[in-house]
Amino acid sequence: MAEPVHGLAHHFEDMDQQRESATLGMWAFLVTEVLFFGGLFAAYTVYRTLYPAGFAEASHHLDVTLGAINTAVLIGSSLTMALAVREGQLGRKKGIILFLVLTILLGVAFLGIKGIEYSHKFHEHLFPGLGMFQVDSPVASEMQLFFGLYFAMTGMHAFHMIIGVGLMVWLIVKASRGRFTAEYYGPVEIVGLYWHFVDIVWIFLFPLLYLIGRHG
């Protein structure tokens, strides 16, 4: 019998096999996530095709500057997340914690800006439910459909980010207890994959929601 290796579950041959299995399992989950958001993107594509005028006019009510800043913030958080995984590969506990804290701060900044945008929409009577929606336009009902998708898609995206922040807090606790080594950092890598996926969803949401028919 070989000596037990830290972090190696008994049903795996070695650390490489364990890491490979974890990565594959996470990708299988991410495929279900791609198709989950895919349903929302399909609904968006159908209604934008049917009601191009209402979608363009509604999109003009979104703040491009805040949207672009948030895109940069989220890309920055993906960078710090990738660097946290790199610190994991190098087995540096302090580095993992530092970059996870930075990622959380950027994630919370994103959610804060999103919250400001949501409150603007409520004040401008652009929330599509609770009898609040009120717009003076011949395509008002089409715009209401756009804002339904806007809140559903960005809300579901924000929900994923909140889960991601929770997972990172858990990682920080584990890291501070010295659970991760250069050979065992799988959880950091897996949460990293999740966070980057959430970033990719936003990379598509930003142009599709904020930048329709901006010219002219």
Binding site: V31, V34, T45, A68, F206, G216
Partner: protein, 107 residues
Amino acid sequence: MSSNHHIMPLPAYILVFCTLLAGTALTVWVAFIDLGALNTVVAISIAVVKALFVILYFMHVRYASRLTWVFAGAGFLWLAILLAITMADVMSRGWLPFPTSDFLNIR
């Protein structure tokens, strides 16, 4: 067996980050130029390139096993099928008259 454990140098990460920021700036800039129907095509193309950078480098898929490539690719293949068949239905509505039949008594 160190392929799973490829450690990218720090400058490579910074370069990917800058590429993604440049892509964001480009997508905003080009949205304000009138390209007709091409505006949407360009916006989605830039987003796809940005997503590829995130997947290949931040998510390490470039250095992952071929089996991981198959898993990742499968997600986007099925997404393409979902969008293609949904839109095939939506866009072909009204191409043909609604079928009627005296024999089946459908009007």
